[in-house]
């Protein structure tokens, strides 16, 4: 059989134009005319960690209201305008960011960018939509009250970060959401949405000059400086604790974790490799093999590095029938202890490096994914050159580094464990 020839590796960074707009915005652009679309991803640093203690969910609510009426349009008219142009525009909020996601057909470029400008600058934040979005958030929280997955992750988070913004509910509480006022939202918008905490990336059929002019229209009138609360570093607590929440279901959902490795730690990439070996998203990971393939204990089992701006964790999860939950957890703990003590084998390391290097390309296969990745790198403070350096950093992880990172990441192997269900024998 004759296979296709490989395409020589090209510089991914060389495809990225670093633009500074006339208005002073820094933007990364990949110009590509293969499909008549333009995607823009942007994010304001801040997010749910900026919620006042008595108002969890404020940033999430703000994000949910930006496309609920703006400028001359009330909520219904704004959505009709988006439909008439077939534009995709929505906002999302996580612990550290309020992000915007935009995609348009090139033939509607001007009016589509105008809708984005209105949402960013002139969202009406009217009482009707506020009440509606609050009721939607409350309904979704009610649906999760006794959902095993949601219960386990809520319990885990509260135990991991007591008294810290990361321990609170990013989407708010059923009791407090209705108390949030329009003034609270206006105030949050003024503090959060500014030019100096903004990262923007664009991909698609648009040239740099046109994009720059459009983005200056969208973001140029925002305040120059955000006014953010200082979020203190959060050291994870509760390690060694095991918290069981009783729910009448046949399966126990298990969430586990321990402190992770910071992104700027010299061993961070080695920790990424070690996590891949432990519980990364491939059929070759140790947890997949030991928990699922060999013993049939679970359908889903994984671990990943959770790096917030002010905290780093290793977290993982699985779900096993109640009678075998203790066994599942014991297998997970055994794998973590073994990897901490002995580190990976040379073969495991080589395979993990190969996977991580080869799979990087698949993160860049749609314009929205490319834009999202470019935005993320900016938020992490990386240069465009990182796009080419990243695989070299993976390749440089040798056995010493991997063993060191395994010790750092997995240490004494102790875990914070939150279970939801009716596990027996624990």
């Amino acid at each position: 059989m004759t296979d296709l020839s490989p395409i020589p590796e090209t510089s991914r960074a060389a495809a990225v134009q670093e633009i500074v707009t006339p208005g002073g915005l820094k933007v990364w652009l990949v110009e590509d005319y293969a499909v008549p679309l333009v995607a823009v991803q942007f994010a304001f640093r801040g997010g749910a960690s900026q919620d006042p203690i008595e108002q969890p969910g404020l940033a999430t609510l703000l994000g949910g209201l930006l496309d609920e009426g703006a400028g001359p349009y009330d909520s219904g008219a704004f959505h009709e305008a988006m439909d008439d142009l077939a534009v995709h525009l929505h906002f999302s909020v996580d612990r550290d960011h309020l992000a915007g996601h935009f995609q348009t057909l090139t033939r509607n470029l001007d009016p589509a960018f105008e809708l984005m400008r209105l949402a960013v600058n002139e969202a009406r934040l009217e009482q009707g939509p506020i009440d509606r979005v609050v009721s939607q958030l409350v309904a979704s929280l009610k649906r999760e009250l006794k959902d095993p997955d949601a219960v386990a992750s809520r319990t885990f988070r509260a135990a991991a970060f007591p008294g810290h913004a990361y321990g609170r509910a990013a989407r708010g509480e059923i009791e407090t959401l209705p108390k949030i006022s329009r003034e609270n939202l206006v105030d949050m918008r003024a503090k959060l949405m500014a030019r100096d905490n903004l990262a923007i990336a664009a991909v698609g059929a648009i040239d740099a000059a046109t994009l720059a002019a459009k983005l200056d229209e969208v973001f140029g009138a925002l305040p120059a400086h955000a006014s953010l609360l200082t979020v203190p570093p959060a050291a994870m607590s509760g390690v060694g604790a095991r918290i069981i929440t009783d729910i009448d279901v046949p399966q126990a959902t298990i969430r586990f974790g321990r402190p992770g490795v910071e992104r700027d730690d010299p061993d961070f990439m080695a920790a990424v490799v070690v996590n891949h070996i432990l519980g990364g998203g491939a059929f070759t990971a140790r947890l997949f093999r030991e928990v699922r393939e060999k013993r049939g204990l679970a359908y889903s089992v994984y671990s990943h590095l959770q790096n917030y701006d002010h905290a780093a964790m290793l977290v993982g999860a699985t779900s096993t029938k109640n009678e075998r939950a203790a066994e599942s957890l014991a297998v997970i703990e055994e794998q973590i202890a073994d990897l901490a003590a002995r580190g990976p084998t040379e073969e495991e390391l080589a395979k993990a490096r190969k996977f991580l290097i080869g799979s990087y390309a698949l993160r860049f296969d749609t314009s929205t994914k490319i834009a999202g990745n470019l935005m993320q790198l900016q938020l992490e403070g990386r240069p465009t050159a990182y796009l080419d350096q990243r695989n070299k950093l993976v390749a440089a992880v040798d056995l010493d580094a991997a063993k060191r990172a395994a010790k750092k990441l997995l240490g004494d192997g102790k875990l914070l464990v939150a279970l939801a269900g009716r596990p027996t024998g624990m």
């Binding site: 004759t2 296979d3 395409i7 049939g296 290097i357």
Partner: protein
């Protein structure tokens, strides 16, 4: 399927299309179809094989066998023992997975383009050389039972949906969950899996779909050198499914559970699919369901969530891609203090109003704009395109059916939309499901 993200659930409506790349379509001598979707933006390929059999083809007493076999297809062959294929995909930095629907089963890998031929060799190998031992079958059956506990048995809303589907189809196997019923999964063994494999995993029953940085001639050559070596088995397997009798009774199911804090509502109608509809009817249903329930400009959202408001969410959805008669969902989350009975009446009101006051030109054009644009947006994802063509061919549609979809949507008239609503949104064709807190049972 193997990784948790891919569900043993019906695929989204395979009703997309686009005026984008030129699709090549051919057939190997042994009957296997070959579809190539060029996309030269990145040096990667998506390689999929679709089999024209899904859970609705499970033999009696063997519900879940299509899905269970899909899991077992990762257990190795005569030539490549368990783990070798996955290990190779991992070394290439590739992605792999599989999924089972009511009408098809599909396997895929995404890898750098130069490894396409190798993927084809391995996939062709496991079309005929699967090896199963009781030692690997038993723990994998436990995995599937855990998958069922995770997706359904621990989630009252999933249990309700299962009950609604079971009530909706009195006779047709779409009423049986794709993953199977727990008590039957427990009895599935090696022999069942191999018998099913022998029957359905043949070149005549398979469709190869390759999307990515490739030329059709190169893919066809590689296909001949791999899949083309598998001997033809004769006629493709015949799907014989019990068909639904006429629906005459409105049905209602409710599920009350102590874990439910937020009531929810669904109503599901049996309606024609892209395969069973009269010409233009599936497209009219597509536009109708969009007008009725897609997004915040839809009738259901406007009238029930914004104007009244009796709900915090409401919408509708039509799954056109189906071999036999399919389903149209209307769903909602009632506002606090609104009973599900009152919400049910409100839904009826919206539908009656839709027929009495059909959409005007602007509303009608808006729906078409969104639907047609979705086909352009789809060109941004080679995986989405590969899935659309694969699913369409697997239910017996043609390449032309898919590529002509946009034009057929453009041709839908307001009269056809109203006629579709009048004819098919008949409560005698529907099951209504209530999810309730236990105290209200």
């Amino acid at each position: 399927m193997n990784l948790p993200q891919a569900a043993a659930s019906p695929q989204p409506a395979a009703s997309g299309a686009h005026a984008g790349p030129h699709i090549a379509h051919s057939r190997l001598d042994n009957g296997m179809e070959v579809v190539v979707i060029p996309d030269h933006r990145a040096p990667v390929v998506t390689h999929m094989v679709w089999y024209r059999n899904g859970s609705a083809d499970d033999p009696p007493l063997k519900s879940g066998i299509a899905h269970f076999l899909e899991h077992l297809m990762f257990k190795g062959t005569k030539n490549h023992p368990q783990g070798e294929f996955s290990s190779l995909v991992s070394d290439l930095g590739g992605q792999e997975n599989a999924f089972t629907g009511h009408d098809y089963t599909s396997y895929f890998q995404r890898v750098p383009r130069e490894h396409l031929g190798t993927m084809m060799e391995y996939e062709a190998d496991r079309m005929t050389n699967l090896v199963l031992s009781d030692e690997v079958v038993a723990p994998e059956r436990d995995v599937v039972l855990e998958e069922r506990r995770m997706r359904t048995d621990s989630d009252p809303s999933a249990e309700l949906s299962e009950a609604v589907q079971a009530a909706l189809f009195a006779h047709h196997p779409y009423g049986t969950p794709i993953i199977g019923w727990g008590h039957e999964i427990e009895t599935l063994g090696r022999e069942d899996a191999l018998a099913y494999y022998e029957r359905f995993y043949t070149p005549e029953n398979a469709i190869l779909v390759v999307a990515g940085d490739v030329q059709p001639a190169d893919v066809e050559k590689l296909a001949r050198e791999t899949y083309g070596r598998i001997p033809a088995r004769g006629a493709p397997p015949v799907r014989r499914r019990p068909q639904e009798p006429p629906a005459r009774a409105r049905r209602h199911v409710s599920l009350a559970d102590e874990k439910v804090e937020q009531p929810t509502y669904e109503r599901v109608y049996v309606v024609p699919s892209a395969r069973t509809a009269e010409p233009g009817e599936a497209e009219a249903l597509e536009v109708m369901s969009h007008l009725l329930g897609a997004g915040q400009s839809s009738r259901l959202y406007k009238q029930l969530v914004i104007d009244k408001p009796v709900a915090v969410a409401a919408g509708a959805y039509y799954m056109s891609s189906s071999l036999d008669a399919t389903r149209l969902w209307v769903y909602g989350v009632p506002a606090e203090d609104v009973s599900l009975d009152d919400f049910d009446v409100a839904i009826d009101g919206v539908i009656a109003d839709f027929i009495a006051n059909p959409p005007g030109d602007k509303e009608f054009e808006r729906a078409k704009t969104r639907l047609v644009a979705d086909a352009v947006y789809a060109q941004d994802s080679q995986v989405a395109l590969a899935r659309w063509y694969g699913a369409a061919l697997a239910i017996g549609e043609t390449i032309e059916d898919v590529s002509g979809w946009t034009a057929r949507i453009e041709a839908v008239t307001p009269e056809a939309v109203v006629a579709a609503a009048r004819k098919w949104l008949d409560k005698r064709r529907a099951v209504t499901g209530y999810l309730l807190p236990e105290a209200t049972a």
